[in-house]
């Protein structure tokens, strides 16, 4: 479980997050939703220590992350798998080398063991026999799936995903969403997905937090979200004509 307590973050005079508290539950797909510029990416970056907190606490299973020294933070980070918006695969490495990289850095496994793990991860994301391809040779969906394979290669306790569906067609986006949910349940991870894709919300939203104007405006699950009367949330979720019609039905 990842807990955030009374988080506050300012950039200059701009208060991005104000007194944010929330628990991201283990074994569930936790979604952070909100408009562009609402502070959800900042929250994700605070969680992994890429930004520093002004005040508050980030707690990974009882361990206060923000009070740790950089070396201790690096140990926690080894327990985190991160899926970046653009995949962030190392472009000079093949698919196999990308997935093998964390294993090479942090384990003493033999080449054979590492290769077995790589093939297992690739199989898990339905990308067998792509070992030798370079990231530039992959489609958007494949790139995301390789990034997921790399993220799970070290058996992480926590999986953080930043806009996993950006730039993908709806069909591929559902494949990625389902994959994230399956992996979360299978490996009993604490997964946090940062998204503004409403299809994702309806597909995998087990524990949803809506950030608006830097504060937690609403929290619940996808069922509660459909029936909510919260005006700001409705304006955000049901912004498109299609969703408006579905809501009115």
């Amino acid at each position: 479980m990842i807990k955030v307590e009374n988080i506050r973050k300012k950039f200059g005079d701009n208060l991005v997050l104000n007194d944010v508290s929330f628990s991201f539950e283990k074994g569930k797909t936790n979604l952070i939703i909100g408009e562009s510029g609402s502070g959800k990416t900042t929250l994700l970056k605070l969680l992994i220590g890429l930004h520093s907190l002004d005040s508050g606490n980030i707690i990974y299973d009882g361990r206060v992350f923000n009070e740790m020294k950089l070396k201790q933070k690096r140990l926690i980070r080894q327990e985190i798998g991160m899926l970046f918006q653009g995949g962030a695969l190392f472009d000079y490495m093949s698919v196999e080398e990308n997935i093998m990289f964390p294993l090479t850095m942090f384990t003493e496994q033999s080449e054979e063991e590492k290769l077995d793990r790589v093939n297992f991860c690739l199989q898990r994301v339905n990308l067998e026999n792509t070992n030798t391809l370079l990231p530039s040779e992959l489609s958007g969906g494949m790139l995301k799936r390789v990034a997921i394979a790399r993220a799970i290669s070290m058996n992480p306790k926590y999986l953080l995903c930043d806009e996993p569906n950006s730039g993908l067609d709806p069909k591929t986006a559902i494949v990625i969403d389902n994959l994230i949910q399956e992996i979360t349940e299978e490996f009993d991870m604490t997964t946090i997905v940062n998204t503004h894709d409403m299809n994702s919300v309806m597909q995998i939203g087990e524990n949803i937090v809506f950030i608006h104007k830097g504060v937690i405006w609403w929290e619940g699950n996808k069922e509660e979200l459909i029936h909510t009367n919260n005006k700001e949330l409705n304006d955000f979720v049901f912004a498109s004509e299609l969703f408006k019609r579905l809501k009115n039905k």
């Binding site: 926690i76 962030a88 850095m105 942090f106």
Partner: protein, 247 residues
């Protein structure tokens, strides 16, 4: 402007503190180092040979014109060309060329990794990204630049000999000039300068790449800044080192 400059210097030293830390895993570090030696060193041999050959030839031709006097022995042309190549042309000229070639390549490579979140990915994995990416480049350059400069001096002298032949300087006179009053310390001085230049070019270029923000346009800007500032600092340190070592 002044504050921005001071801030940059401060950030450079903060980054260098991160760079100068023990590699996470030596086997991976040496693999990276080998790759960088190929990219920074071996891939620069061609351009070094071409430039050095023609600089050597031109320097000799110019000296032969300047020293065209019946009272001056012909071997002086060999001597002057040798000292010019060892003291200045090879380390400084090649240094500036490498600042352009390698500096822009390092800044754009690291800058691109920064804007595509590959550096963030390294950090999330618990890896010191500055040390992982930059240290092998600095060590590879500090190791291989002196080899390139020795090569440059050698090829420059061959070019000078051929340039001399075109000006009717006898080979025997040119070779005698090369050997006459040779001071081995000049080579040491040249190599000391080269090692400092290698450090400056790679670390400054890496700094501009590592601090890139935004998109592709900023990668281009970082690359330009890397070449400009590493060239300027190279010239400043050339002056400082020459004053300290030779005077």
């Amino acid at each position: 402007m002044m504050i921005k400059g001071l801030k940059n210097i401060g950030n450079y030293f903060i980054m260098m503190k991160k760079v100068m830390s023990r590699p996470e895993k030596y086997s991976v570090f040496f693999k990276q180092l080998k790759l960088e030696i190929v990219k920074i060193g071996l891939d620069s041999i061609g351009i070094v040979i071409i430039i050095s050959f023609f600089i050597g030839a031109v320097v000799t031709i110019q000296q032969s014109i300047n020293l065209e006097n019946p009272l001056l022995p012909k071997y002086l042309i060999g001597l002057v060309s040798r000292d010019a190549l060892i003291l200045e042309f090879a380390p400084t000229m090649i240094g500036l060329i490498l600042a352009g070639k390698i500096g822009s390549s390092i800044a754009s490579e690291i800058g691109m990794m920064k804007v595509t979140e590959q550096i963030d990915a390294l950090e999330i994995m618990g890896i010191n990204s500055a040390s992982f990416l930059i240290l092998p480049k600095i060590i590879a350059a500090m190791f291989f630049f002196p080899i390139l400069i020795i090569l440059s001096i050698t090829i420059g002298i061959i070019g000078g000999w051929l340039g001399g032949l075109s000006m009717q300087i006898p080979t025997a006179d040119f070779v005698y000039g090369l050997q006459y009053q040779f001071i081995p310390f000049y080579v040491t001085y040249s190599l000391i300068k080269t090692i400092v230049f290698a450090f400056l070019i790679t670390s400054i270029s890496a700094f501009y790449g590592y601090t890139t923000k935004g998109g592709a346009i900023n990668v281009g800007k970082s690359s330009t800044l890397a070449v400009v500032y590493s060239s300027i600092l190279l010239l400043i340190f050339n002056f400082i080192l020459t004053d300290l070592i030779l005077s």
